[in-house]
Structures are given as structure tokens and as C-alpha cells.
Symmetry: C2
Subunit: 569 residues, 2 copies
């Protein structure tokens, strides 16, 4: 920002670039709306009123609000790269996101963060980041990377880094793990905000967590939980993601006394929701539909996150702030009719303007170090009974069931009649293809196999299938795409969604991703899968921090006991 | 702060030091009051409820609020050093101040800031600082120091420095003076807040000022002025000082939509007011008496300034924050019955507890480089008419009057009959004793002389008297004290207030300062002075940034034209 140029223009000494006239200007500082004109120079707001301008745009009495800010989002969940994500959410009125590149950091470590930072350049919105605090999530699996405080330190002063991201390792905080303490001290020393993640934490354990200086939580699912956290000083990020939707539950505590310390976030939104519902705008619409003052809803999506993160040049229509603007007609149903980023129109009526350039792609390091054809998925029988993962529809938790093994030629095999399907998780990082084997019930597969490189949190390759050959073919299909989702039958790939960016993200437009996603889900259902999104369920079967029984490349994990257990009881 | 110790205590693993039981706990995050206990360890709040504690204190159902924060204060205006100031305001419930050591910086430069930082150690409250941004105020006088951005830089990362102090040089901002821009860039680069000072600034000039990122103003005297500034993103510090009192004027704009961005400050409070009225508590009481919700008034004096300055360990009763607490009975008339600083009681019922140690004094550099006996105050007549400063009661502005000179032996002299008194301002810094001479009307002196080393902003020695010998004796009295205020008659010092700390502050208790102040004022009145506080009026006659006519050691300054003018017209 060239302060001299901006200040000189504010004074009226030099003409401004753009004057938006006849606007109903939303003031997030006072909660008032004023009629007037907004003057923009070099991408920044410089003043109000009648400035000499190179260009004037009559907005015809419509409302102009600051661009929306998503206070916590994993871009990877959109399954699109930064460029395509930005092109998807900018038309929704989102002009700033604070993204936590947790998933790609688990795959690629510092190189993944670096890739995201470089990808954020020249987008039609500001992509800021919080530094992933918990990579890897556990030591119960082979991770793509380990990020200690020393690894995070070089990023701390990067202008796009505004926070330490959600500290999911709350036991590490509460029991003062040295490495966790070092990360918090690092953020504190750089005057960066520390985001929290403490679902259900309460009482003394929550006191301990907040005493460390962790300042937000986006995991509240109950009003009393959110109020307890807010009263301990945490800023509450009200999440409306694809799976986790908390606005209904938390709405009762949004009051004139609390809204100042609350804001919106989407956390994880899948392609379908981004296209069908929108982004932060959808959360604001929902809140307003539930009866929240539109001004308050806007403030919670603009100045509140800006203040919370110390983003001084966004979140308001005021001199010295970026001219990131959303124009809409109806405060009761806010839909972005025009979106300005840095003083330039980037979208109209939900569509990106054709003139908005897509930056050249940033090279992404490879993340598939394995030969899928050398894998052995056989399981010699070592007992009569086995631990089986029970998948539960639309849940990330599982249950552990003890079942009789089905044996063939001395090997434990899938048993379609009992809905017991074979599973594998294959390490994609070391080149040694460590493989954990198990069985799952509840998926419903009757034929073939499905596989994915989106397998939280380490994102090894996870697959489920009725035969070893099917597993082999599905894993091979994923590896050959450089990552992605695939459904195979009889050695034929029925459908696939390539995710060449770290095995997590596509480089295609979100519409394409959605179509490909629909394709693989349909194919999985054709193979017998019974869940609404079998790949999402599959992707969480490897997450060893959510109970009860999970599978990693190191084997079955009893999450309650937090240890590896044998397949055979 | 030993996080490990605090977190472990929060968990309940180790006993806490103190448990305040039976408390009505003011929650500044939600605006609610809850009954409960507050657990304190190592000076920090660790949790609520029934902790095992080394000591329990039943507060018998009284309210417990966070200690109050003064968001902008010049300690020098109390005329006491940091130790005595702290001992004065802590019993009022003030546990944090953000002080701008502007006056001592004008006298001693970086050494003055360093002195204040060192004096702040081991006090019964947290003395934080904003770095003076405008030293010297002008080049129309000989200053004790010049602080450029490069001089401020070494202080920026000091843990007690939270902001760049009030940027009074608003023309410098608006016209992008290079040195001013450098100071703002310095603060921005260190993620420090930038305080403003822009009385009456409005419209485009205010847009320009705020575009630079200046984030607060404590100079609003009208509601519309404050609302304009607030709507541009400035945080409004509502000032209640000794002279400038703005709460009545600004009260109408404090609403549920705006209080979040407003806070209290005292700016300049003299000894008498500190003793008679109090400090931040007095502002809170006044606001509540005017009808403000006590919870809102407390929030504006606690969490709001803490959030604004990024002071993460104060301003609330929450785990990880300093156990700075105010106990009171009546929310409608908040008077600190007990004050805790870092978990220790420091005051009860308006009195400092005897056990509170006064830290050893910090050596202060000398600031009186002149020999008062070599001065020559004679003014050879060079014309018939002269410019005379008209002092105005209780105002810092003056007027310029053109009057006939009174001549004696070829010299211009005082004329008591016409109330035209001789004045001098003597440079106390260079050793060369540059002296500016002039005349003042409105003071009313009939005999003797008065002198002071408190002469804004450069604090040279200012004196007014009926004879050269009187001026000489008065200046000599000030110099011999190492600075201070004096009234003399016939070569006898009638009364004096020694200010050995930079000629600005006493090392005595504020009660002593008030008595000495009463003494010098009484003596000045005995000499004929007609103003309520002749020394305060005198002290502003040298301030060359407030119209119309002022006197510095360089001569008479026409402030409207911003240039030195001759005495004789």
C-alpha cells in the first residue's frame, strides 16, 4: 500500500479512480447505514462524498457492505485449489478468508504451506492463512510431514500469516506438552492470534486450555458450551460447514452483549454446498432468516474477524481499508449482486466476471511415493474372531464390532453376505508402502472397490473392496492420477475424481469437481454402497483421533485406548 | 508468566494461592454477573469454582470486576513520579495505565522514556506506555530532545510498549511528512497500535488522517465529531481530565452499537483531582450516574482498552489474565473497597496498604543546564507599540493585543497599573540560556514574580514578573530546585513546589505535591495573580501550537502564521 498516494487522494488533491455513487453504505463500526458515495484509489477506500473521479458508478440506492470474511476454512475441503476456490467464493461476496492449510501440510509439510502461500497471490480475494498447529495429528500413522515450532517459525512474519491455526491437540495444551508450548510461545512472540479447537471441553480443562492464551473456538455445538467459552474470553466462530452446522444451536446466545465476540466460519464446505448454497453469504442469509439484525450478521462476517485477527485493512468501508465491497438490494436476503475486490469488480449476480484472470498454476510437489503393483493385501488367518470397524452414516465416529472371520485358503477375506468388506490404508510417503489391513461393515459394497487419497488427517491411500484384486486396482487408479477418488470393478475404473494437488485438490473448476464427485459416488452406489457419501465416510475411517476403531497404515487403532490393536482378537 | 505453572494450577493439579469466594463476578465478555469463586495462582487467574487453595477470602457477596485501565494518560500531569502516581491511582482501582511520556521525552528524549520504563518496574499496577510520536512539538523553540523514527525503533519491542502515542502532528500525517510516515511505518511494522489526536478534524482531512491507520482519538469534544470519527474506524477515548472533560458531550453517542469501540481516559489529571475525585473510577461513576449500564461502563474501562491495545493478560477476569481485581458493593456507585494487583491486595477503602513497597527511585538525568545568575532580562525599546499576550482564564489559547510600550531609561518595562507584566522563557537545555522576552496581560501580578519549569511542550523555564530582579530570582529558584514552581517577592522565595524529576515531577507523595501546589498558588495570589491557577495558565503561554500569541525561548510566536514575530510592532 502506497500510503502517500492514498492519503493524498483522501485529501482530494488527486482524482480518485472510482466513485460509487448513490450508495447505502453499511457502517460496521456504528451499525448504521448512510446514503453517500465511496471514493476508491489504488484499490483502497479513501473517503466519502463528492470526489473528482476517473470513473463513476451509480449503484442506484443499493446497499454496499464490506466484503465478507471467512474466519476459519480449510480450502482443501472444497477439493479445489486456491485459484478455483477463490473463483467460487468471490461471487458469493467473500473477499477474505483465513485458511488453515492443515490437510496439505499433513501431506507436504512446509512445502505445502509454501505452495498455498504462493497460490494465494493475484487471486480475486485475499487468502490469508493460519499456520497449522498439529501436523501430524498423531503418531499412530505414517504422516507426510511433521511440523514443529522450529518449522513454523520461518512463516510467522509472512504478511499472509495472521494466526496459529486451531490447536486441536488440547491434551497437549492442558498437559503442557513441550512442543505445543513452544508453538504457542512462537505465536505469542510474533503477536499472532492463537485459534482453538476444543469440542466439548469444559470446566477446569477448559480453564487450562484458555489460560494458555488460545482465543477462539469454532467447535461449539451447544449454546451453553459456546457461552461458557465466550465467558472465558474465547471468540466464538459459529460454523456452518457441509457436515457440521452449528448456527441453529448457537443462535440463542447471539445478543447485543455477545455478538462483538462472535463471527462466522465455514470450516469445511464441499463443492456441492459451495455451488448450491454459497459461502459466508449463506451463513449470513440463514442468520438473518432466523431473525438476526442484518447489520449484526454483516458485522459478524466483516469487522469482527478483521479485529480478531488484527487484519487492519479489511472488514470495513473506511479510509485506508481495501475496497472489498459487496453490493446487494435486500438486507433481508443478502445476495451479492456485485462484488469488488481491491476496487475492481470481480463478480456480478453470482458469476465471476470474464475479465478476472486465473493466475498461472504454482507447481506442486509430488506426494505419491509408492508402487501400487507391488502391494500385498492378503491377511493370513491368526484367530477366529476379528475386530471390524462399523461405519455410521454421516458420522466421523465408528464403533468396534467383534465378528467371526471368514476364511478362504487360510486367508481372512471379505464376506459380502455379512457386509464385511476388506479395507487397507497404504502409506504414500515413505516409498515403503506400509500397509494396514482391516475390515469394515456398514459400507454395503457388493462388488469392486473404492479408494481415496483423502483420508484424514495424514491422507494416506484408503480403500475398501470385496477382493484383493479390487483393492489393488482401486489403489492403483488413485496413484496413477497422482491422487484422487476412484471406483473400480473387475479391474475397470468406473469413475474417478483426480486430485493432483497433493492428492487433495483438483485444478479444475468446482463445477467439474462436483460432476466428477457425483460420478464416483454414483459408481460406488452402483457397486452397492449404501451411504449418502461413501467416500466421505471412507475418508474418516483413517482418522485416529475420533473413536472408536480406525485403520491407519500402521494397523487398527483403538482410539479410546489410543493404541494399535491386532485385527484378530 | 510461567504458563506451565498456571495451566497446571488451572487443571486443579496443584493448589492455588488464593481463592476469592462468595463473589459476584463481573464478566466483561458477556456483560453478565455470576456468583462464584475466583482461583489465583502466581498472580494470574486460573479458574472458577472450588479449588484447593492456600488462602481463602470470602468477599461476602460483593462484586468483583477486572482492574480498571486508563487508555491514555500523561503521568507527568499528576506532577508525581511513577511510584507516587501508582500509589495514588491503585487505590482507585486502576491496575493498568497506558501512559504517554510525552512531557519527559520532550525534556530528556530517549533517556526520559528509559527512565519511565525503568520506573515502571515493581509498581502496584501495570504501567504500560505509548511511544511519544511528536518530540519536539515544533521547531519554534529549543527542545530538550528530538525523537525521530530511528530513535523510537529500539523501544518498539519493549514489553511495556503497546502503541505509538497520540499523533498530534496531524498536518504531518495529512501532508505525508516523511518523518511522520516513518514513525507510522515503524509502529505498523511492529504490529503496534497508533493513537490519534485530531481535535476538530473532519471530512477529507480526517479521511486522510485515518487512511494512515491511526486508530483512536481522545480529543473529541462534540458528539457529532466523535460519531464521525467512530464511523471511520477510530476508537473513541472519552476523556475526563482536570481541564478537558468530554463525557457530558459524548455521552449521547454511547449506545449498544458503539460502546464496543469506546473507552475511558484521563489524559491529564492534576493532583487535586486525583485526590478529590479519583481516576478511571471517577469516570465510571460519572457515566453510571448519567445513566449508563454499570456493566457497560466497566467494559469500557477494562476489556475495551485491553482489546484495543492487544493487552492479552489484563482487562478481564479469565484464566491466563492477571489477577487485577476491584471489589465493590454498589454497581450504581462503584468505589474500590479492595484492589488486587497480580493476586495481592494493594489497597483497601481508598488507601494503599502499608505493606506495598515503594520501589527504589530510579536515577533521573539532570535537565537544568543554565546559570540563572548570568541572565539579562532587559528589553531596549525599539518602537512605540508592542505585541502583548492576553492570558485567558482556564484556557490554553491566548489573544494578541497591541499596546503602547511603557519605557524606563530606554528599556521596555512592566506596567502594573495596566496589568502588563514582563515575561521570559529561558532555554534550559543547551547551556546557552537562549531567552525569549515578552509581555503578558491578564495575569494580574502586582508584585514579585512566578516561574515554572512546566512549560508545554518543551518545558523551558517560563517566568512572569514585575521587575527584572524578580524574574531573575524566580528563575533562579526554579533552577536551584532542579525544576519546579516558585513564587518570589523582593528576592525571597514565598513558596515553591520542587519538581526534581526532569523539572516536571515530584518524588513526594501526591498529598505533599497538592499542599505545595496550594502553597505556590496562594503565594501567587498574594502577589496579585487573579487566575484560579496562574501556574497552569503560565505553563501554556509557551505552547506554540495553540493560538494566538505565545512566547518561547526563541521569541514571540504568532501561532496563526506559525512564525516568530518581533515584540515591537
Amino acid at each position: 500500500m502506497d500510503f502517500e498516494k492514498i492519503i493524498t487522494a483522501a485529501r482530494g488533491e488527486t482524482p480518485v479512480d472510482l466513485l460509487l455513487t448513490n450508495a447505502r453504505i453499511v457502517n460496521v463500526f456504528s451499525g448504521r447505514v448512510a446514503n453517500g458515495s465511496i471514493a476508491v484509489k489504488d484499490g483502497y477506500i479513501v473517503g466519502f462524498g463528492d470526489y473528482e473521479a476517473a470513473e463513476k458508478l451509480d449503484v442506484k440506492g443499493r446497499c454496499v457492505a464490506p466484503g465478507f470474511i471467512d474466519s476459519h476454512v480449510h480450502i482443501e475441503s472444497s477439493m479445489t485449489c486456491v485459484s478455483e476456490f477463490a473463483r467460487t467464493v468471490a461471487p458469493c461476496g467473500t473477499t477474505t478468508v483465513v485458511a488453515d492449510p492443515h490437510e496439505i501440510a499433513n501431506v507436504l509439510g512446509a512445502a505445502g504451506i509454501d505452495y498455498m502461500l504462493r497460490s494465494a497471490e493475484n487471486q480475486p480475494m485475499d487468502c490469508l492463512f493460519a499456520l497449522p498447529s498439529c501436523v501430524p495429528a498423531t503418531d499412530m500413522e505414517t504422516a507426510g510431514a511433521r511440523l514443529n515450532a522450529a518449522d513454523l517459525a520461518p512463516f510467522m512474519d509472512h504478511p499472509r500469516i495472521v494466526a496459529l491455526a486451531e490447536m486441536m491437540n488440547y491434551p497437549g495444551v492442558i498437559f503442557t506438552d513441550a512442543e505445543v508450548m513452544a508453538k504457542l510461545a512462537l505465536a505469542r512472540g510474533h503477536r499472532r492470534t492463537m485459534d482453538g479447537h476444543a469440542p466439548g471441553l469444559s470446566g477446569r480443562r477448559l480453564f487450562a486450555y484458555t489460560a494458555a492464551g488460545i482465543a477462539s473456538d469454532h467447535e461449539c455445538t451447544r449454546a451453553d458450551e459456546a457461552l461458557e467459552k465466550l465467558e472465558l474470553g474465547m471468540h466464538i466462530m459459529v460454523r456452518e460447514g457441509t457436515c457440521a452446522r452449528n448456527l441453529d444451536a448457537l443462535f440463542p446466545i447471539i445478543s447485543e452483549d455477545t455478538w462483538q465476540r462472535m463471527m462466522w466460519c465455514t470450516d469445511d464446505r464441499h463443492p456441492h454446498d459451495l455451488l448450491a448454497e454459497g459461502h459466508v453469504d449463506a451463513v449470513i442469509r440463514k442468520a438473518v432468516a432466523k431473525g438476526l439484525n442484518p447489520l449484526t450478521a454483516i458485522r459478524m462476517g466483516t469487522i469482527n474477524p478483521a479485529d480478531y485477527f488484527g487484519i487492519k485493512d479489511a472488514g470495513a468501508i473506511a479510509p485506508g481499508r481495501r475496497a472489498n465491497l459487496v453490493i446487494f438490494s435486500d438486507p433481508g436476503d443478502i445476495r451479492a449482486e456485485m462484488v469488488f475486490y481491491m476496487g475492481k469488480p470481480v463478480a456480478e449476480n453470482g458469476r465471476l466476471l470474464p475479465g478476472v484472470q486465473r493466475p498461472a498454476p504454482v507447481a506442486v510437489p509430488p506426494s505419491m511415493r509408492l508402487d501400487p503393483h507391488s502391494l500385498d493385501f492378503s491377511i493370513p488367518v491368526k484367530g477366529r474372531r476379528i475386530r471390524v470397524i462399523r461405519a455410521i452414516a454421516d458420522q466421523v465416529i465408528t464403533r468396534c464390532e467383534i465378528m467371526d472371520v471368514t476364511e478362504k485358503d487360510g486367508m481372512a477375506v471379505a464376506d459380502v453376505a455379512k457386509d464385511v468388506i476388506k479395507m487397507c490404508v497404504v502409506d504414500r510417503y515413505t516409498g515403503r508402502a506400509h500397509t494396514g489391513m482391516g475390515f469394515v461393515t456398514g459400507l454395503g459394497l457388493k462388488r469392486g472397490a473404492i479408494a481415496s487419497s483423502v483420508a484424514h488427517d495424514s491422507h494416506n491411500i484408503i480403500a475398501a473392496g470385496v477382493s484383493d484384486a479390487g483393492l489393488q486396482a482401486a489403489v492403483a487408479a488413485v496413484v496413477e492420477m497422482g491422487g484422487g477418488l476412484a471406483a473400480v470393478d473387475d479391474g475397470t475404473v468406473l469413475a474417478s475424481l483426480p486430485l493432483p494437488v497433493a492428492g487433495l485438490m483438483s485444478d479444475q473448476p468446482v463445477e467439474t469437481v462436483r460432476q466428477q464427485m457425483d460420478g464416483v459416488i454414483a459408481a460406488a452406489k452402483a457397486l452397492g454402497a449404501v451411504l449418502s457419501d461413501p467416500f466421505m465416510t471412507l475418508g474418516f475411517l483413517a482418522l485416529p483421533v475420533i473413536p472408536d476403531l480406525k485403520l491407519t497404515d500402521k494397523g487398527l487403532v483403538d482410539v479410546t485406548r489410543f493404541e494399535i490393536v491386532s485385527l484378530f482378537v
